[in-house]
């Protein structure tokens, strides 16, 4: 998650949620996100809430971190019932970062273990960790699998050395197929993250990366257009003219290329930046985000959502550790969405995924906009005829514009 926190209302010290959070909870999946805020180096494009120092103080250092995080899980297990939410087994768990695999696999296992004790895992639960290719070994992956992890997502980004260099990535491209093989041997499902449109990346470079990713035979691929986040080293380099800026047309070309290559290799898109080999290989955790399910986000800066209540934790690991050590909720702020805002979010998120949006969920103006969107080639005509607004390839590239048109009033 981006490290700049939104503005919201203050959150109470006991972490209790407003009544709205509990309404209808039984019908929503319950998920857990665990944030691990450590990396060995900070990549120039990245604005995630992550730190390279080993020692951060207040129970936030790498070797004390699992204990601190478990304290938040314990808090969650009290807050949820106290706020009227039913006990639900976890349908998915996702360890993200930062680089979760920078912690010993046994720490990750311990956190997962605590979560399982507190809530239990639903049958066929999906348990993912992000990982940097050079932060795993066959043994660590075995340990994770044995602890109940089912899936690993590697930050491959590119297969081309000069592109990896601009991205400040430290791994050897050779390491990726190797790590994928180890993960497979451990029985884990595998996803690869790619970034396209890096300054200096040619179309041929991107083809090389796509082919290399496909050759690894993962179950799932995420391909992200490089976002120049404010305040990052990359943004400064572009501003100073040290590296060329990014070009939306180049992004569009590369997105189209990704769709063509991935489709030919048997991957189907299911979200703007995500493709999976089969429906079962889609990332259920991320789908829960887009479908408006409930999740608890644990860790500094982590965001949570329960029934239209969104909240987020204090950003710095030391502040986070400090709060938990004194029994205070680490929540920094929150917002309770009204019906109209939830509707807007629903349109915004649902449009991005292959499920699409039911036409009847739109207002009269939005429904009127659909015909124009079909005419412009952005929305699939036959699907709309069946009552679903689903993006075409061109529509995916212009998804934000489509959402604005659907929400016009």
């Amino acid at each position: 998650m981006p490290s700049v926190l939104p503005l919201g209302d203050p959150a109470p010290a006991d972490g209790l949620l407003p009544p709205q959070a509990a309404a209808g909870a039984q019908d929503r999946d319950f998920c857990l996100y665990v944030h691990i805020p450590f990396c060995s180096v900070r990549c120039g494009y990245c604005d995630f809430n992550t730190y390279t120092a080993k020692e951060l103080g207040s129970g936030a250092s790498q070797d004390e971190y699992a204990g601190t995080l478990n304290a938040e899980l314990d808090l969650a297990a009290k807050v949820l019932p106290a706020s009227g939410l039913p006990r639900r087994p976890l349908s998915t768990v996702f360890f993200g970062g930062g680089t979760p695999t920078l912690l010993p696999a046994s720490d990750l296992a311990a956190i997962l273990g605590r979560a399982t004790e507190l809530w239990g895992l639903a049958p066929a639960a999906e348990v993912t960790t992000e990982a940097n290719p050079d932060s795993v070994t066959p043994e660590s992956l075995q340990t994770l699998a044995a602890a109940g992890f089912t899936r690993v997502s590697f930050g491959m980004q590119s297969a081309v050395p000069h592109v990896l260099k601009v991205l400040d990535r430290t791994h050897d491209p050779e390491r990726v197929p190797q790590a994928v093989r180890w993960a497979r041997e451990a029985g884990l499902h595998v996803s690869l993250d790619l970034i396209y449109g890096t300054p200096g990346e040619s179309v041929a470079d991107w083809e090389t990366s796509l082919d290399a990713a496909i050759d690894c035979q993962p179950d799932h691929i995420s391909a992200y257009a490089l976002i120049v986040e404010e305040g990052t080293k990359l943004a400064a380099q572009i501003r100073r003219g040290e590296v060329p800026g990014i070009d939306d047309d180049d992004h569009a070309t590369k997105y189209e290329l990704a769709e063509a290559r991935l489709a030919a290799a048997g991957f189907g898109w299911y979200e703007v930046s995500n493709w999976a080999r089969t429906e079962a290989d889609r990332c259920r955790h991320n789908l829960s985000y887009w479908r408006g399910d409930d999740w608890w986000g644990a860790g500094p800066g982590a965001h949570s959502h329960m029934g239209g209540v969104r909240w987020w934790n204090v950003k710095h690991p030391a502040a986070y550790g400090q709060r938990l050590s004194t029994g205070v909720s680490p929540a920094a702020g929150r917002e309770t969405l009204d019906a109209a805002t939830r509707k807007l979010e629903h349109v915004m998120l649902q449009t991005r995924i292959i499920d699409g949006l039911r036409t009847q969920e739109l207002g009269p103006q939005g429904r009127n906009a659909v015909a124009g969107l079909i005419a412009d080639g952005l929305v699939d005509g036959p699907a709309a005829f069946d009552g679903t607004v689903r993006l075409t390839l061109q529509g995916r590239l212009l998804a934000d514009a489509v959402v604005r048109r659907l929400l016009e009033d």
């Binding site: 939104p6 997105y255 934000d400 604005r404 016009e408």
Partner: protein, 617 residues
């Protein structure tokens, strides 16, 4: 040295022989208002502790810009040789847009202090205002100001002044409005040299209205100079042009705050309050008389100021249209030069076509509308007025390019000006080149002194009113000054250039230009719009056309990507807020056909780079 007056002469009981009416006239920034400050101080009408620089520049905009926009009249007592005189001093604006303010003020005076910056010498408005004063047959006191400046060349410019007015350079007074040096001598000289007003005290009252100001608290305040007879409170007065009569609720003098009096007699300058709410009922140039004993003949009036440039003013939020209408009505109360009528633009909605005296007047009016009435406005590119004769001999007056007749045009006439440019002689070549490029016709050239030249040109107004002055300044390292006044019209080879977005004409961008400049306008505007209009989901051609002939073309390529790559749990709130902001932003979009044009693009495209920073002329 004259001591400060101990007893000021009482209005209504003042012998005309001890009255002196004068105004201070000069080129812009030569120090009129600062000199007026010293006079306010020396005569004791403003206490030391209340004093502030350019005391009489009271409007916010005057203070911020450091220029005078409205004339101000003040009654000052001054003692000389044991006698106390009543001086009426009028501080006038120097900017060419407000020349009409100067001419009104002159009509209330017998004399004028012609002020010249001793470091700059004579400039174009020095001449223009001097000629105006001479036409009014005023006695002129030439004065060099700012002699405290190290760069001052009093001897040189005293000679220039003497040359111009006729007289001895020795007689040119040298003062500093800043230090006060020489100002007492100047006041003495005003008393000695200026004629006292003459009038018939026993005749029916006649007073000339030289200013009329709307004040929220007091209603319309009318400034008059009494010529004959006397005006007294609670008398019924009559406006001679309309025969409308009003009761005189209050009468008095400004000193500089209003001081009610028992009346105003021959030669006196003061104000009247009748309770009317509209300055049009108390029109500048009209003659005031009394209902009981009306004068048979009015004093000569002045011509209404004539708007020279027109621009469309549109509220950015269409719902503000009634606010804009009321705001214009209110400003009009204080600004006889402001004319407007409603118009609609396909691109901009409902607004007004407003006539101005020049670009500074436009800028100031717009600023006041925005500031005082909390409006956000778009003003379209300013243009001059054209007289278009159709083949059927019908004549159409075009104040808005989009009204340019489509039918068969037999002749187009454009307004002309006669312009005076003063500059050191080394720049003559550059100035001539500039004027020729602007279709100017040289009418004459004179040496004012060894190295200072006056060039006279007849030029189309449209060629000088926008960017000409800036170019002139830059080509002469800031040394040239310019003055102009309307001078008839001429037939010219003019065309209307339209701008089309996706084939749809955008009326707000149409312009009437000389045939030779149509192409460069087209290229400039289409280029600008290509930069300003964001890419849309489809390709947008931008064309410039004369009739059906395309003269320039640009293209905005369709946008191919508009999606945020990542939207996970922690991104959702941020992304939603962005979306809400974009939805809000969409309200500030104007639709031209299917093309979304941000307001900012209209504003940026219409605020020609030239029209910026025009305040100082």
């Amino acid at each position: 040295m004259s001591p400060m007056a101990r007893t000021a002469p009482v209005p209504a009981a003042t012998d005309p022989a001890i009255i002196r009416n004068f105004c201070i006239i000069a080129h812009i920034d030569h120090g009129k208002s600062t000199l007026a400050d010293r006079m306010l101080q020396l005569t004791g009408v403003v206490e030391q502790r209340d004093m502030k620089a350019q005391y009489l520049d009271r409007m916010d905009i005057e203070r911020e810009r450091g220029i005078t926009i409205k004339s101000q009249a003040v009654r000052l007592p001054w003692e000389l040789d044991g006698r106390t005189y009543a001086l009426n001093m009028i501080d006038t604006p120097g900017h060419v847009d407000f020349t009409y303010e100067v001419s009104r003020s002159l009509a209330a005076c017998e004399g004028a202090v012609l002020l010249v910056d001793a470091a700059q010498g004579i400039e174009a408005q020095t001449l223009a205002n001097l000629y105006l004063a001479m036409e009014n047959d005023l006695t002129i006191i030439p004065v060099l100001n700012k002699i405290d400046l190290p760069a001052a060349q009093p001897e040189k410019y005293a000679a220039e002044l003497a040359n111009l007015i006729g007289g001895d350079p020795e007689d040119v007074l040298k003062v500093s409005g800043k230090t006060g040096m020489g100002v007492e001598d100047l006041l003495d000289k005003i008393v000695r040299d200026l004629p006292a007003p003459v009038g018939n005290a026993d005749a029916p009252a006649r007073a000339m209205i030289f200013d009329s100001v709307y004040d929220t608290y007091r209603g319309v305040v009318t400034y008059v100079r009494v010529v004959d007879g006397e005006l007294k409170p609670r008398e019924r007065i009559q406006m001679m042009s309309t025969r409308a009569s009003h009761e005189l609720l209050e009468i008095g003098v400004s000193s500089p705050e209003p001081v009610p009096s028992k009346g105003l007699g021959v030669g006196e300058v003061g104000y009247l309050i009748t309770g009317v709410k509209d300055v049009r009922q108390s029109k500048v140039g009209d003659t005031v008389t009394t209902l009981n004993n009306p004068a048979p003949e009015s004093l000569g009036g002045y011509a209404d100021p004539k708007p020279m440039v027109f621009s469309g003013l549109y509220p950015i939020d269409g719902a503000d249209y009634p606010v804009l209408r009321d705001a214009l009505d209110k400003l009009k109360l204080n600004d006889a030069a402001l004319v407007y009528e409603p118009e609609t633009s396909a691109a901009l909605g409902f607004g007004f076509r407003v006539g101005f005296l020049g670009l500074l007047h436009l800028e100031i009016t717009r600023e006041r509308l925005e500031r005082d009435f909390n409006l956000d406005l778009i003003s379209t590119a300013p243009n001059v007025v054209y007289e278009v004769t159709l083949e059927d001999k019908k004549v159409v007056t075009v104040t808005n390019p989009s009204e340019y007749p489509d039918g068969k045009v037999s002749e187009v006439r454009e307004p002309m000006v006669s312009a005076t440019i003063l500059a050191p002689n080394e720049f003559v070549g550059a100035i001539m080149e500039l004027c020729q490029g602007r279709r100017g016709d040289m009418k004459g050239m004179d040496y004012l002194s060894e190295d200072r030249v006056e060039l006279r040109y007849r030029l189309p107004l449209a060629e000088i009113v926008f960017d000409f002055f800036d170019l002139l300044k830059s080509k002469t390292r800031g040394y040239a000054s310019l003055d102009w006044k309307a001078d008839g019209e001429q037939v010219a080879d003019l065309v209307k250039v339209d701008i089309l977005l996706q084939g749809e004409q955008v009326d707000a961008f149409s312009a009437i230009t000389h045939k030779d400049k149509a192409y460069s306008y087209g290229v400039m505007m289409t280029g600008k719009l290509r930069e300003l209009i964001p890419r849309q989901q489809f390709e947008v051609p931008i064309q410039a056309a004369i009739g059906s002939r395309i003269i320039a073309r640009e293209n905005i390529r369709a946008i191919r990507k508009d999606v945020l790559a990542k939207c996970y749990g922690g991104d959702i709130s941020r992304k939603r807020k962005l979306l809400e902001k974009q939805k809000e932003g969409k309200k500030r979009m104007k639709m031209v056909g299917r093309v979304e044009v941000p307001q900012e693009a209209f504003i940026a495209a219409l605020s020609s780079d030239e029209s910026k920073d025009k305040s100082k002329k």
